[in-house]
Amino acid sequence: MVYGVYEDEATAADMPITIKILVAGGFGAGKTTLVGSVSEIRPLRTEETLSDRSEQVDSLYGVEQKSTTTVAMDFGRITIRGDLVVYLFGTPGQRRFWFMWDDLACGALGAVVMADERRLADCFPSVDYFEDNGIPFIVAVNCFDGTQRHSLESITQALNLAARVPVIACDARSRDSCRNVLVTLAEHAIARHRDPPAPRVHLVS
């Protein structure tokens, strides 16, 4: 993405500092719930009723109870101090919204990939995207009914994650649990900065 030089740069020192965190993952994995659990403002909900047409696009297996889907983004704000603010963006999980991702990912501190154990494959695209773009991310396994079906190690294996990518269990409805998710991500981003991963080598045969 190319930026021009914006005017008034001389006074940029008194601008608030903003931190962008993305919350990604499959359809119905709990992105909206997580943003709502920790944010000061109500997420910007632009939800659409699932029509018959949408059901042909989005598999409803395991989330039959859900009658609406997020079509834009969930937006939350956490004020750390007056001039230091964390913004959360819940990014649409469905493939047809991928065009929005580059815009959202620009300058992000990192990302939380929400995973639903019943539909683990749904978070493959998000994991691939953040790996390919070198954006620090963690995987938060949302345990909807308080029960965890698989060990975190087996999920790490199933997602083929690098060993240092944190995988944690969470309950997106719990503020404490979501706070823990964000702290884990921020600490992971710091660790990545101190010890950057080797650049990925793409083998060409």
Partner: protein
Amino acid sequence: MTAVQPSGGEWFDQDAGPVVRPYALTGGLTRPSGQRFDLLDMVRAVRQAAEHLPYLTPEQAELLQRCRMPVPLADLAADLDLPVGVIRILVSDLRERGLVTIHRASPPGFTDLKILQEVVDGLRRL
């Protein structure tokens, strides 16, 4: 969350979508001029902006009033309940008229560990 099921396939009130189409709010403009603004770029009204309020559309006037202090683009979209695309166009138009300045978001995530540590500590206190 349960959706309201319209009877007979008709939609009423908010379910019917916006009464005013987005392009009507932007004076027919469909894309912003100049470079693309990031969601967290800061918008700030210039000091003389208040004099121009009577000559602006209600949406632009409200935008100007909300950014007397620097406000990120995404906050403006959420506050005015307008699509980000519409806000980008309105802000870009105001900028061309010299009524707002845009300050590029400079995410310190990759350079300023002190700030990052402050974020971690702040999140812990939530």
